[in-house]
Symmetry: C2
Subunit: 274 residues, 2 copies
């Protein structure tokens, strides 16, 4: 590991806007930290793409964030965490964490019946990483996965409280309702935006796990252990910067609905050059 | 223009699989022509992305197809036709055509009431290219556009004959039903797969226009005029090759449902290197 400057920012990336739900938790739980966020809006979504492609894209983003002198990287995308994190970790000289392991850990602590459901993109479900990590930590737990490919487009269409979204959700979640689970991981950063609907369908005996919050705590532990927490003395400017790979209007609109402040400036870069 | 070999293949590209509906029409109407198809499955969809990004992606694909020695290029993607074709045309030394102009031409010939609807991706609708082209040819025609962002994910989910898709379609098409149109352009290559549903909702007094067929005829006229038709004498091998930028399984599945033969082999390339 290289010598790390505690004043350096945290790099957070996602295939698009969804990772802002993770960035928001980091802002809340680590208010002294600067953040450089990158959303790969030119190549979104990742959830229907292959492992090789997601690894290639993630590597380019890590190279970009390293150029921004970040001290640690949070892969705030479930698909990239599931498909690329193990590769990125091996190649990185700074700490890098994803959202899958923190999500798996909370699910283990939550389930009493030892029956956990996961909803996520096709790529995340097909990677079986949530299942593997959970069963490594507790082999007695049964994990049931269900891809929900239309949830992201429905959220992006803005149909959050809508009869169509409800019908789709009831259809996707039907199998899981018969599985006697007591814990359900929202394994895609867009899904917390459908939290109330999913909660209503699954019923109050099923606890919904949002990996974003736990990821911010994992990051905090990591920074503390490494003596890398920002002392917060040198803050003279707005601590958050937002980069995208495609035009920023839609990103701003979505960001402003998720974050507790308005994002007025985003910077566009050509990620393919990294 | 460079000297063109009539035996050379036609290049056809799309953001993903949808352009195969155009390739299919070319196969039917120009059976002697070889085709090199490229689907940008690693960066699909284009319909929610900006003009600059779609131009950059399209340029890379044109460079790839040029390297394959194609004699002409068909932009079989409405979004790329709407956002990038005018730029690509200026830069190209071989003929290059899109799907928007052929689609606009049929709509003009079809409408009696001089009221035409267009459904397409957000990017295509926001480009206003269908409207511009139609009104250039006949300024008396009124053109009403409606983006239908969920149609592509619904088709890719395979929900072609489905109550959810019907509800979404009824909602999207409601405005158009009140507009007294007699012609509706299916301005995205995925939409012909929802043809029967859209036809049912719009009623029999509205004629649906699929630019794919007309595009194949426009290509035929172009080849004839330039003396570029393949004489069909030198065909010793399977005349179609399929390239993708991301893993091919899903592509093959979709291709086999659209084309009159099974696609057994696809070749994957890294399009970002072009």
């Amino acid at each position: 590991m290289t010598k790390i400057d505690p004043n350096a920012p945290i790099g957070v990336f996602d295939s698009g806007v969804g990772g802002l739900t993770v960035a928001r938790e980091i802002m809340r739980n680590l208010p002294m930290e600067k953040i450089i966020y990158f959303g790969d809006t030119a190549r979104v979504p990742y959830g229907s793409k292959s492992r090789d492609t997601v690894i290639r894209y993630s590597r380019q983003i890590v190279r970009f964030l390293r150029e921004q002198q970040v001290k640690a990287i949070v892969v705030a995308c479930n698909t990239a965490s599931a498909l690329a994190l193990s590769t990125l970790e091996k190649e990185s000289d700074i700490p890098i964490i994803g959202v899958v392991k923190p999500g798996a850990r909370v699910a283990i602590e939550t389930t009493k019946k030892k029956r956990v459901g996961v909803i996520a993109t096709e790529a995340t479900i097909n990677s079986h990483l949530y299942r593997e990590l959970i069963r490594q930590m507790d082999p007695e737990i049964t994990v049931v996965g269900r891809p929900c490919p239309l949830f992201v487009p429905l959220v992006e269409e803005g149909w959050l409280h809508d009869s169509v979204t409800e019908t789709v959700a009831r259809r996707y979640l039907k199998d899981l309702q018969d599985q006697d689970i007591d814990t359900l991981i929202l394994g895609c950063t867009h899904y917390p935006l459908l939290r109330s609907l999913i909660g209503e369908i699954m019923g109050e005996r099923v606890t919904l796990v949002n990996p974003a919050y736990e990821t911010s705590l994992a990051l905090k532990r990591l920074l503390e252990a490494g003596g890398m927490m920002n002392p917060g003395t040198a803050r003279s400017e707005f601590p958050y910067r937002f980069f995208v790979s495609d035009a920023a209007e839609k990103f701003k609109h979505f960001a402003n609905s998720i974050l507790p402040f308005d994002v007025n400036m985003t910077e566009q870069i050509n990620i393919e050059e990294y």
